[in-house]
Symmetry: C2
Subunit: 319 residues, 2 copies
Amino acid sequence: MEEREFQALLQQKTQAVEEIIKGYLPREEGAQKTVIEAMNYSFLVGGKRLRPLLMWETYRMFGGEDRIVEPFLAAIEMIHTYSLVHDDLPAMDNDEYRRGRLTTWKVYGEGMGVLAGDALLNYAFETMASALVREGNGSCPDCQGSAEKAADTLERTRTMARAMSVLAERAGIYGMIGGQTADVEAEERGTALDMERLLFIHEKKTAALIQAAMMIGAILAGADADAVKDMEKCAYNIGIAFQIQDDILDVVGDSKELGKSVGSDAQNSKQTYVTIKGLEQSARDVEALSLEAVELLQRLPGDHAFLEELIRTLIHRRK
Amino acid sequence: MEEREFQALLQQKTQAVEEIIKGYLPREEGAQKTVIEAMNYSFLVGGKRLRPLLMWETYRMFGGEDRIVEPFLAAIEMIHTYSLVHDDLPAMDNDEYRRGRLTTWKVYGEGMGVLAGDALLNYAFETMASALVREGNGSCPDCQGSAEKAADTLERTRTMARAMSVLAERAGIYGMIGGQTADVEAEERGTALDMERLLFIHEKKTAALIQAAMMIGAILAGADADAVKDMEKCAYNIGIAFQIQDDILDVVGDSKELGKSVGSDAQNSKQTYVTIKGLEQSARDVEALSLEAVELLQRLPGDHAFLEELIRTLIHRRK
């Protein structure tokens, strides 16, 4: 796929995802209006919408073509957003800006920052649970009469329950929150990280939600257990390679392109993948991880040209 | 029911609930051990376990008698606990003690306090979602072959999805988080509350989770839509009466019995139900709300003697 064609497609697909997920935001009304404004502010600050994009593309690659995936696209982005809102709090990273705009707690106050994050996390599950209820009722109001319909509705309901369960697990203590815990502790203790702990943090804090995205895309499209495992592995590679590339850019990147200062890890004498393995080996590892991820896709049927290109772009980005 | 008999039953039932919900806590292991310790610390500090108790009793009243309710007992208490953990944070109420013990953030630090609350909220949904997946798979591995089994499993799966959806809604922006938002804003602005806003806060912040408890008990036991509505109304009355009684105790209570100082609302010139309606009318309202709640129960079949007594005790408590 040519670069120009890919960029046009990426823009088009990102816009389509944006339209869908925006449709799931709550209306800013009622005596609780402020927390809803704070949720929507955090959500609409934007970003690459990488997780819903990966979910959607994986879903399509496995032949998925209906709207069952839509509430999950919104839910995973809500969960990603809540994690940023809470990460930015004074009690955590104490960040005042994100993507060039004031962070949620800077605009709405610290208490509302806590509540807005809670609200986004809760609303992600509210969105999925109500989709599950609609699926169970709406698509089959008269299942009593038709065994075939009942089996079909049960199959879809089960599939959605599995997808929700995967998201809950990868977002929670055995996933993202687990990674944040290890990260917070490492910062507090100021002890040097070994490779094992560093990979634990990268896997849980970054790769886990990317895994959820691609696994859910596969599950909802009806892929078999082996294919879901392939996606789990593929997403692991993407997440880890993405993080190593981040560390590399902190050493060799151009601060103008990155939009942030470089060399900050060294200044904070922070232990990273690059400080442990060296620049050259790190670059080789990114290459190997990315190659393996692409190979996993190539073994599968369906159209994965865009997904492959997306992975290459993500991992070889210079900003 | 005699007072002594009720107290013995209450203790026995609370212990049984305690055993069940403790069984759902995650094990304290792995590189994320600290956040799990913080979750379990918050959860095990205790309390009356009122919400799971109400859920269980309602479930039994409607004839429920299997273990389908158990993950929901744990989930609602996890959600109640997370709300306390985040409420206690310096960014919110800045409380250092709860039930005579240090609050979670005082023991584990502020960052871990945020994460432990997030973890409890996420784990509540993780627990329900995985129960839903188990129900869908385990009870019916061979539904393909049996139309009857498929319809039955679908019915149970639907019921659990509805229960989860109710909890998500009552805990979120249209429930508890909505009430907390209005409460935080009222505190920050320092403007006097009118009765409408005050009732909004009491309904959402307190009654909403009690409603979830009793509605879910009814739903899981297979009660019809009218009965679920009756429970919603009954729980509304319990929640509001409980809060008014709180305000009354702040004026007339014995600080020794309460274990906290009285008159704090007046000292903070805080607008409460009692300051707006006066002591006598407030007491009459508690009486009327409680009577109506009990009457709602009495119209229903099943054994509700314990539940009635529980409501009377809650509302007429002196501490």
